[in-house]
C-alpha cells in the first residue's frame, strides 16, 4: 500500500487504527505505525490532519518505548536468574540450554 496515493483522511484513519490496535499487546504494530507515518507526521508540509497524525505517532512511539523497556528488563532478569530459580525457572522456559555453562 502506498501512502502517497491515499487521501489524508484515510491516512488518519489508518494511523488511528494502528495506534488503537497496538494496545492489544502489539508493540510491533506501534513500531510499524511510527516508521510508516513518520514522514507524513513530521517531514511533510502541514496539512489538516497532520496534527492528529503527529499525536498518534508520538503516542505510539511512547508506548513502544515503554514496551521495549519492560521487555528488556524482563529478559535481562530472566537470563540472569533463570538457573537460580530452579523449578520456577524451568517451568517458565521455552527452551533450556544443554550442557554445563
Amino acid at each position: 500500500m502506498n501512502l502517497e496515493r491515499v487521501s489524508n483522511e484515510e491516512k488518519l484513519g489508518l494511523c488511528r487504527k494502528y495506534y488503537l490496535g497496538g494496545f492489544a499487546f502489539l508493540p510491533f504494530l506501534w513500531l510499524v505505525n511510527v516508521v510508516w507515518f513518520f514522514q507524513d507526521a513530521f517531514i511533510k508540509p502541514a496539512y489538516t490532519e497532520q496534527l492528529q497524525i503527529k499525536a498518534y505517532v508520538k503516542r505510539s512511539g511512547l508506548g513502544l518505548a515503554l514496551w521495549v523497556a519492560v521487555l528488556t528488563t524482563w529478559i535481562t532478569i530472566y537470563q540472569h536468574y533463570r538457573a537460580q530459580w530452579g523449578e520456577v525457572g524451568d517451568s517458565l522456559s521455552f527452551t533450556i540450554p544443554l550442557g554445563i555453562p
Partner: protein, 429 residues
C-alpha cells in the same frame, strides 16, 4: 507431523506468473490503457513518453524499447524477493539441523515409504507419492475454481485466513523453537508469547488488510520460506524431485491448456472484471486503478493487477485488495495512476526454495546449491521474457524447475566429482 489446513491449501492453485498489465493492452506501458485523453497527470512516471510525437512507427519502436526496458526492471524486482526467500531457506538448512534430520513421519500426501531396499521399488514409491500429491493438488484446485465460479467468496476468504493463521503462528512458533534449541539459548514462554503474537498479528494485518508494501512483501517471503522448509523436512528425498517435476508439468497444463483450472480461473475473473484472489500473490509493485467518483464505474478502467491471477498455490495470503484501496483513495476523476509491476504466485517462491533447499540439504556442497540458484534465476528471466512477449498469464514453474533439476543432477554427479578430482590432482584449468 499431522496435516494441516495450510497443507491442503498449498495445492489450491498452481503457480502462474503474470504481467500486471491488462491483456488487451498492446504495450507494457500502463498509460496506454488510459482512455482518458487528459492522461499523463503530473505524477505520471513515464515522463519519456510525453515526448513521443512522431508517427506510429516511431511509437511502436519506442513502445517495444520501453517494453523491454521495463521488462528488465521487473526481472530485477522479482530477483530480489526470490533470492531472499532462497537465502533464508538455505541459511536455515545449513545452520539448523532439524530440517535435515531423518524423520519417519510423513505427510499423508506421500503415503509410500522410501525405506526400500531395491532401487526400483524406491523409484516406484516416489512416483506413486507424486501421483498422490498431484491428484490432491488437482482436486484442491478444481474445488477452488468451483467455489470461485459459484461465488462462494466467504468460504474462500475464511479458508485463506485460516491457512495464513496456521502459517504465521504455528509454523513460526516451531521455527523459533528450533532456532533457539540450535543456538542453545534459553528462552522463556512470556517473551516467546509476545514475539509470536506480534509477528503473527501484524502479519495477518499486513497481508489481509492494509499495511506497508515492503512489510507485506517481507511477510510473504517469510511464509514462503517457512512452507518450503516444511516441505523439505517432510517430503522423502526421491519423492521431492519427482514431485517437483510433476508439479511443473501440471503447472504448464493448468495455466496454458484451454480447460485448465487456472486458466478458467483467470477467464472467470476477467469476465467479472475483478481481481483474481489478491491472496496468494507476491506483487512487486503497486497497482492503482483510476479513481472515479463512483467506485463502481472505476472498474471499467481497471488495468494492471486486476486482470492477474493469483498464481501460487500454497499459502493463502491475501494481499491488500488493490481496487478497494485505490478506489477509496483517489478522489473523483483523477488521472489514471499506475505503476506496473509483476506478480508472482507464492507457490513459485515455495517450490523454487524447495529445490534450492533440497540441493543444499542433500547435494554435495555449495557448488550444487549455487548452480541450482543460478538455474532458477535464469529460468525466471526467461519466463519474464516470455511474459513480455505474450502478455498473458504464464506458468512460472516449468522453465525454472527444469533448469534447476538439470543443473542439480549434472552438478552433483558430473561437475562435482570433476572439480574434486581436479583439486586433488592440483590441475588447474
Amino acid at each position: 507431523m499431522t496435516t494441516s489446513d495450510s497443507e491442503e491449501d498449498t495445492y489450491d492453485e498452481r503457480s502462474a506468473l503474470m504481467s500486471s498489465e491488462t491483456p488487451p493492452v498492446p504495450s507494457y506501458q500502463p498509460e496506454q490503457s488510459d482512455p482518458d485523453p487528459s492522461a499523463q497527470g503530473p505524477v505520471s512516471r513515464r515522463a519519456k513518453r510525453s515526448g513521443r510525437g512522431a508517427g506510429p512507427e516511431a511509437e511502436l519502436d519506442e513502445e517495444e524499447e520501453l517494453t523491454l526496458k521495463y521488462g528488465a526492471k521487473h526481472v530485477i524486482m522479482l530477483f530480489i524477493p526470490v533470492t531472499l526467500c532462497m537465502v533464508v531457506v538455505v541459511a536455515t538448512i545449513k545452520s539448523i539441523g532439524f530440517y535435515t534430520e531423518k524423520t519417519n513421519q510423513r505427510l499423508i500426501y506421500t503415503p509410500f515409504s522410501e525405506d526400500e531396499v531395491s532401487v526400483g521399488r524406491r523409484l516406484l514409491n516416489s512416483f506413486l507419492n507424486s501421483i498422490v500429491m498431484i491428484s490432491v493438488i488437482v482436486v484442491m484446485t478444481i474445488f477452488l475454481v468451483m467455489l470461485y465460479k459459484y461465488r462462494c467468496y466467504k468460504f474462500i476468504h475464511g479458508w485463506l485466513i485460516l491457512s495464513s493463521l496456521m502459517l504465521l503462528f504455528w509454523f513460526s512458533y516451531l521455527y523459533l523453537g528450533e532456532l533457539f534449541k540450535n543456538y542453545n539459548m534459553a528462552m522463556d514462554f512470556p517473551t516467546v508469547g509476545v514475539l509470536i503474537w506480534n509477528f503473527g498479528a501484524v502479519g495477518m494485518i499486513c497481508i489481509h488488510w492494509k499495511g506497508p508494501l515492503q512489510l507485506q512483501q517481507a511477510y510473504l517471503i517469510i511464509i514462503s520460506a517457512l512452507m518450503a522448509l516444511v516441505f523439505i523436512k517432510y517430503l522423502p528425498e526421491w519423492s521431492t524431485w519427482v514431485i517437483l517435476g510433476a508439479i511443473s508439468i501440471y503447472d504448464l497444463v493448468a495455466v496454458l491448456s484451454p480447460k485448465g483450472p487456472l486458466r478458467m480461473l483467470v477467464e472467470t475473473a476477467q469476465e467479472r472484471n475483478e481481481p483474481i484472489f489478491p491472496a496468494l500473490i507476491y506483487s512487486s509493485g503497486m497497482a492503482w486503478m483510476v479513481g472515479m467518483a463512483n467506485p463502481a464505474e472505476g472498474r471499467r478502467q481497471q488495468s494492471d493487477a486486476e486482470a492477474q491471477e493469483a498464481g501460487g498455490s500454497l499459502e493463502a495470503e491475501d494481499s491488500p485488495d488493490p481496487p478497494a484501496g485505490a478506489q477509496g483513495a483517489c478522489p473523483s476523476g483523477e488521472d489514471q495512476e499506475e505503476e506496473s509491476g509483476v506478480k508472482l504466485g507464492l507457490g513459485d517462491f515455495i517450490f523454487y526454495s524447495v529445490l534450492v533447499g533440497k540441493a543444499a540439504a542433500t547435494g554435495g556442497d555449495w557448488n550444487t546449491t549455487l548452480a541450482c540458484f543460478v538455474a532458477i534465476l535464469i529460468g525466471l528471466c526467461l519466463t519474464l521474457l516470455l511474459l513480455a512477449i505474450f502478455k498473458k498469464a504464464l506458468p512460472a514453474l516449468p522453465i525454472s524447475i527444469a533448469f534447476g533439476l538439470v543443473f542439480y543432477f549434472s552438478t552433483d554427479y558430473l561437475v562435482q566429482p570433476f572439480m574434486d578430482n581436479l583439486a586433488t590432482n592440483q590441475y588447474y584449468i
